[in-house]
Assembly symmetry: C2
Homo-oligomer: 224 residues x 2
C-alpha cells in the first residue's frame, strides 16, 4: 500500500494524460499520448501497463485511459508546481513568458511538499501563471475565471487580455512585438468576415489587426 516511487517519466505521462482528458473531454488514446510525449506508440503501451500496475490510471486494452484519483492528485500537483515555478521565474528572476516553460518542465519534478508550500507563500499565493493559466491550490482546486476567446467577442466590446491558448515561443514573441501581454486592454473596432481577422485598439491608444489564427488563441475578460 505504501506509495511506490514514481519516476520523472511516469510523472510526465500522467500530466500528458491529464491534459488530454481535459482538452478532449474523454479517455486518452495511445496515439494522442504518443504525440504529446513525442515517443513511439509501443513505448506508450509499455508505460500504460506500468502506470496501471501502480494504480495511477484506469486502463483496458484498446479502450483509452483516464486517471485514478491517485493519478489525478499527482498530475494536478505537478501542474501546480510547474505554474508556481513559472511565476517565480518571471516575477522574481525577470524571465520572459516565452522562456520559462522548459525550465519549469524540470523544476516541477523536485520532490518536496514544503518547498511548494513555501514557494507559494513567497510568491503571494498567485492564482494564475505567466500565461494566464490557473494554478491549482494545495487541494487541487483550479481557480475559475470568466473568459472568452477574442474571436467570439462582439464589435464595440472592451476587455482585458487574461490568457493565451497557444504557448509556443513564436506565438508569444509575436504578441510581444505587438505589445500585447496579459493585462493589455483591448477594444474591438472591427471584424472582417472574409478571413476572420479583427482590428482592435489596445491600451486605449495604438490600433492593431490580428489574424483569425491569433484571435482564436487569446482569452479576454470582458469589462462588465
Amino acid at each position: 500500500m505504501a506509495t511506490k516511487k514514481i519516476s520523472q517519466a511516469e510523472e510526465n505521462y500522467l500530466k500528458a494524460i491529464f491534459k488530454i482528458n481535459e482538452q478532449e473531454g474523454k479517455a486518452a488514446g495511445n496515439k494522442a499520448i504518443s504525440q504529446a510525449m513525442e515517443t513511439s506508440a509501443a513505448s506508450v503501451t509499455d508505460m500504460l501497463r506500468r502506470l496501471a500496475k501502480k494504480e495511477l490510471i484506469n486502463y483496458e486494452s484498446h479502450k483509452g485511459v483516464t486517471l485514478t484519483e491517485k493519478g489525478d492528485r499527482i498530475a494536478t500537483n505537478l501542474i501546480r508546481k510547474h505554474r508556481l515555478w513559472e511565476v517565480f521565474l518571471v516575477d522574481k528572476l525577470q524571465f520572459a513568458w516565452d522562456e520559462v516553460h522548459p525550465i519549469a518542465e524540470e523544476l516541477e519534478h523536485i520532490k518536496s511538499d514544503k518547498l511548494v508550500t513555501r514557494l507559494d507563500e513567497f510568491l503571494g499565493h498567485p492564482k494564475f501563471d505567466p500565461h494566464g493559466d490557473p494554478i491549482p491550490d494545495a487541494d487541487g482546486n483550479f481557480a475559475f475565471r470568466q473568459q472568452v476567446l477574442l474571436s467570439e467577442v462582439e464589435i464595440g466590446k472592451k476587455g482585458t487580455l487574461v490568457g493565451v491558448q497557444e504557448h509556443s515561443k513564436p506565438f508569444l514573441q509575436y504578441l510581444d512585438s505587438l505589445e500585447l501581454g496579459l493585462g493589455t486592454e483591448v477594444e474591438i473596432l472591427e471584424r472582417y468576415s472574409y478571413d476572420g481577422s479583427m482590428r482592435l485598439r489596445i491600451n486605449a491608444s495604438k490600433e492593431v489587426v490580428l489574424s483569425q489564427k491569433v484571435n482564436q488563441n487569446l482569452y479576454i475578460k470582458l469589462t462588465e
Copy 2:
C-alpha cells in the same frame, strides 16, 4: 566533439569524485566513491568506465581517478548551483540550514545557465552558502577565507563561527539547540586536555562546553 549528454547519475559521481580529490588530496579510489554514492563497488567500476569514455575523468584500472578539465568544470558548476539553491531556500524561503541539502541535491541538476546567472543575481552574488561553504563563481573560482578549526584555537582568543565541517542534520540541530550558528561570536575560556572538550563564551554572554567531536567540526574566523 559535441558535448554528449550527461545524466543526473553521472553528475553526482563527478561531484563525489571532486570532493574526494579535494578532501584526500589524491586520486579517488573505487571504495571511497562507492561509500560516497552508497552503491556497490561493481556499479562504481561500471560508471567509471562510462565517465572515462566521455573524457570526464582520468581512469586507469586499479589506479584511482581524477577529473579531467571538462569533468572539473561540470563538478564545480554543480557545486555552484547546489550552494546557490541552498542560499535561496534559507534566505528567501525561510528553510533551516539542516533541511536544505536534500532539496538542493535535486535542484542542482536543473539545466539552464541563464537560471544560475539570474538566481545568483537575485540572491546578491553570495560568496558562502548556509553552511559557510564557498560558492564558486561562474568561472569556477572559490572564495578563500582565513579560518581555523575551533579545536586548534588557543585559550583567550576570540572569533566568529563561519563554517561547519560536518553537515549532518543531527549535528546542525545540536548546534541550533546550543544557539550556535554562523556569525556567532565565540571566546575560548578553557580547554580540557583530558578529552579535548572546550568551554566557550558565546555572543559575549552564555557559556557552553563543547566536546572534541564538536569543536573539531567548527570553523572559526579569528578576530583581528
